[in-house]
Symmetry: C3
């Protein structure tokens, strides 16, 4: 068969290495498209002059854009037959990426767990994105519920990997060159608040709402060369549970990150993603809002230029976040679509 | 508070200087996006070879794209709490901008006028866009009706600035290098008509209609890093007067400029905007048409390569412009959405 | 008259040469936009590193993107008053195009045939796209039914050109540098199947469906600077036969080419288009599917690196292609929107 049916649960083997297809040279065109789709205003990613004054050779590519591009490469092999994307852990942004760099992805199967129903199983992968000089730029784990081709097929031995609950502060900052805090212009950055102005427990409502259109999420997801059919095929979607196209979860992550500029404007880099849950699906016509809680602040050992903030951002649909809707008991407020636990780097 | 509430009328002071955030390196990606959103066919902005043959080092960035990018930087400080964008005056395009240039914006408050209602006031600003070599590329005035935070708050002394009704021809052309009229290829430009073929009083119906989609105006407005909520939040818009998202006026200006190619194909540069009024709001689903009247023709002192045409372009929604709908009494034909009075430069 | 009314049937002369307007420098921005609109995963067009390993100096611009950009330049002169785009023949991709290249187009009228009704006539043109070094990059023939301005106007003598039913294999491959098959990485390319794995008669259902949004086809068609009103003006479309905007046929071709990656992933270049018919119109909201039949396989004389596959791709709307819907009698299955007969090049 010439077409790609994707892998089913029983096709995966513990320790299997998957070299994903479709290396991608990231260009200024991709950067502009991401700006048009998400409206990000982080100055470091907006202007070469600002980036150079801060200590970068040029404006680096947005971290979540990089994440989504790398993620897209894994879809044809890992999640074409997925039922649900369950979670992320230990994502580390290891090295800045610049327009002109080419990224590729490789994954290792690090866990497998059949479900009692026999119809699905959870596949755990660790994925690494690499640039064309062979340097790792991104490293993350995710797990996804994948269909079985044949419910009667024997299941592999169960192995659930131990994954870090959070990336340790000592591991942050690798991806960020030494910055000159006196070369960082808060006025041009758009925020008067630096690392020392944030405290654990603090909550920030990001205020703005972004209504997502079908064309927008499709353009974004295809920009990532992500092929998952549920995002693109309205005809087939008519017969699904929701009856319509589903928005790719990474599009919601990118939207929330862009909304978070309002309140976290100096959070210039995402250093790591500790965990994330796509709590509820989003569809075109939904308006996304977001709020964040500072979970923790951390100095970076040996560095005086940056500090790290551990942030929990909650994104909702059709529900402004003045009241910070979030976890309720074992579940969530019904409007919650995303919970993301991540470290950002901020000038001191 | 970490988020930006924007300024209210009583926050502004006459003479106040505002350094806006978010410097922006304009790239080929931005140019492509503008082409895809507006379909502009002006040859100077379309091809490096054409531009070089005409005397430019490379294809310059579209003037209205530059205007919208600079304007976007002022929104978080000037018009986040605006009720209406009232007008423009004395906009001058001072220097060509090329992909790779970074632009920043600074504004000065040049006027303040409280409204009798006490709930709003008019703020007048002069904004300058500068490239990363510190050279001014754009200079304009605009005034906007801004809400008061507290109607009872005392109003500043009234000062309404004197603004030019039009930019004098002697001030045009700074932004346009000396062209070689024999190096200008009308066939490749797409128009057989040069400066001497236009006469004051002449009217041109630009014929084509452009139906605007939600995704398109959102992509454009975010490309400009313009954060005004009324363009993006359909959920909040349900409770507004119009019940839906409003299209950013600069998107209509850019649409009208692109439509004007049909009839003004050799109007290769916008040199200045004398004034503009967003007469009526536009919404997704509206089809924009446009027509122009040549108000004046002017030689540029000391230059034989270019002449200037003063143009009034009217854009309408859902109303073709064969009959040139425009001013009616003290108001306008109900289909009019924009009136723009501007100078273009055209090869002689 | 300053605006362009387009040409009517009686305006064309056999042998007439038309230098089209609007040269266009193709950039990385255009490449990104095409990726976002179509989601193409062909590795050669995705990554410079992959392209260089294969023998190219850099990642070439997608062939169908080039075709659509060149085609767009001909519309204001050839098909502004067209009733229907009838067909293509003998399209040859002669030379790779890279970001930074400028393309222009020239057409020759090679045939004219009035219709018995007297209201329309068929215009046959041969169009050549050229880069800024004067080298031909694309050469094709198409014919289109064009309105007459005045049904009573005399018709030109009839001349129907002889057009090739297919481009001969000996003429393929000019546009493709000598590749190193050992430098071609099937894993990164995303397909384990090379030239020798395909056989005449083989059918491939490309599986995936792409639902097209109004914004998407408009963005694409304006990216091509194609001005045909039927794609953009919903207000005028209300009074047309279909009542809504029509999707540009080249957008369907590009969509089908991107969908064909699934099954033809190593078909890295389009070498020629033998013929194409836009069998049925498509509209926003339609979901496009595609399947292909290998009509022929051909070695390229003197070349051991590539072979050529002659492919017939059928695109449908709202109809998955598991049953390969295609020709039925003298017509087609009602869901068919496009039939394209073309040669692709594939590594051996």
């Amino acid at each position: 068969m010439k077409t790609n049916p994707g892998n089913f649960f029983e096709d995966f083997r513990l320790g299997q290495e998957i070299r994903h297809a479709t290396p991608r040279t990231i260009t200024a065109g991709d950067v502009s498209l991401a700006t048009a789709i998400y409206g990000s205003r982080f100055a470091l990613q907006s202007a070469d002059s600002f980036a150079r004054a801060a200590g970068y050779p040029a404006s680096p590519v947005d971290d979540i854009l990089l994440f989504n591009i790398v993620f897209g490469k894994t879809v044809p092999d890992v999640s074409l037959n997925a039922v649900a994307n369950l979670g992320y852990a230990g994502a580390r942004f290891l090295r800045p990426v610049y327009p002109g760099d080419t990224v590729s992805a490789v994954s290792e199967v690090i866990g497998l767990k059949a479900n009692a129903s026999g119809k699905t199983g959870i596949v755990y992968v660790r994925t690494q994105g690499t640039n064309d000089r062979g340097e790792a730029v991104l490293d993350y784990n995710r797990w996804v519920m994948v269909q079985k081709r044949d419910p009667a097929a024997p299941n592999p031995p169960e192995h659930v990997p131990e994954l870090p609950k959070a990336v340790a502060p000592a591991l942050l900052g690798e991806g960020c060159p030494e910055l000159d805090p006196t070369g960082w212009d808060d006025g041009l950055a758009g925020s008067a608040h630096r690392f020392g102005d944030y405290a654990a427990g603090e909550r920030i409502d990001h205020v703005d709402g972004a209504t997502i259109e079908e064309a927008e999420h499709q353009l974004a997801t295809r920009l990532y060369q992500n092929t998952a059919k549920v995002h693109f095929d309205a005809h087939a979607a008519k017969d699904t549970r929701f009856g319509k196209r589903l928005i790719y979860g990474g599009h919601i992550i990118a939207t929330a990150r862009a909304l978070s500029f309002n309140g976290l404007g100096n959070a210039c880099r995402v250093a790591a993603i500790n965990g994330g849950r796509h709590v509820s699906p989003s569809f075109a016509g939904d308006t996304i809002y977001a709020w964040s809680e500072i979970l923790e602040t951390a100095e970076l050992p040996g560095r005086a230029d940056l500090g790290a903030l551990r942030v929990r951002t909650i994104a909702t649909k059709n529900q402004p976040c003045g009241d910070c809707p979030g976890r309720e008991g074992d579940g969530y407020h019904p409007a919650v679509v995303l919970e993301l636990d991540y470290w950002v780097l901020m000038i001191r």
